[in-house]
């Protein structure tokens, strides 16, 4: 975490750049506000949770989601016009999936919102591909040694999202009730449902 002094300095430099770009007629403050608002409005874990709840209650949708993630989430109005390819990976009794971007911070933003700080950290990026079981335990997720773990390394063009296992004994729950059970970490694979 940076100190107040550092924060004041970077804050000044960012303001100075914005002013400079405005003076040069490159961008306006209004234009920056607009793209920022659009970015935040279109990116939230509520969207990913919605996709999961639909897949849990509609087998045909689930099949489409696992075959072509991009097209299936576009059916629900997410990732329209995105140049990225989405692959949804399904947790089963035998396999648990977890996503990372070892090179930087690639992430399915429209479905999960801006990523948590730890996802961008060198500690997570370096370790989850080497010792996923220990890393998941640090998140409080203890998996049986009989469960395989598959780690998916994202790229600029290919993004991943985890389809968690639907909890047992909740057959009577509606799509909305199921959605309430799913956390952002479950969509990344650092938690189960």
């Amino acid at each position: 975490m940076s100190g107040d002094h550092e924060d004041a300095s970077i804050s000044r430099r960012v303001r100075r750049l914005e002013t400079l770009l405005e003076e040069k007629g490159v961008v306006t403050a209004g234009a920056v506000d607009e793209v920022l608002d659009a970015f935040l409005a279109g990116a939230s874990p509520v969207n990913g949770v919605r996709v999961v709840a639909r897949a849990w209650t509609d087998d045909a949708y689930r099949a489409r989601l696992l075959t072509d993630g991009t097209a299936a989430v576009q059916e629900l109005g997410f990732m329209d016009g995105s140049f990225q390819r989405l692959r949804v990976v399904e947790n089963t009794d035998a396999t648990h999936n977890v996503i990372v971007c070892t090179l930087c911070s690639c992430y399915p933003l429209p479905l999960l919102g801006p990523s948590p700080g730890w996802y961008k950290s060198e500690a997570y990026r370096s370790r989850v591909v080497r010792e996923p079981r220990s890393v998941l335990a640090e998140f409080g997720l203890q998996l049986p040694t009989t469960t395989d773990i598959t780690v998916w390394d994202s790229s600029a063009e290919s993004r991943y999202m985890v389809l968690p296992r639907r909890p047992a004994g909740m057959e009577s729950l509606s799509e909305d009730e199921l959605a309430a059970l799913v956390s952002r970490n479950a969509l990344i694979g650092t938690a189960a449902v």
């Binding site: 770009l21 948590p116 998140f139």
Partner: protein, 93 residues
Amino acid sequence: MARINDVGGTQGFGAIDTTDDPEPFHADWEARVVGLFNALRAQGIFNTNEFRDAIEAIPPATYLTMPYYERWFTAITVLLERKGVIEPGELDE
């Protein structure tokens, strides 16, 4: 040769701070940097690959100590200078 950003499998980065923080930004400047990035990219001043390259080219010692969105800001200023949109030193106070 791999650049400093290519950390997959390397050792020594220690424990992960697993705090689940739903806030996307922790200071206004972070949000402004993301807004600037999106606005400049939308205008075609640079593309995503150029931006990533500029982040990955930050010298290792700086990269490792620099906050995440300050890397973004650094990459933006490097690209704006390279493209002649701003002059070297123009941002200095």
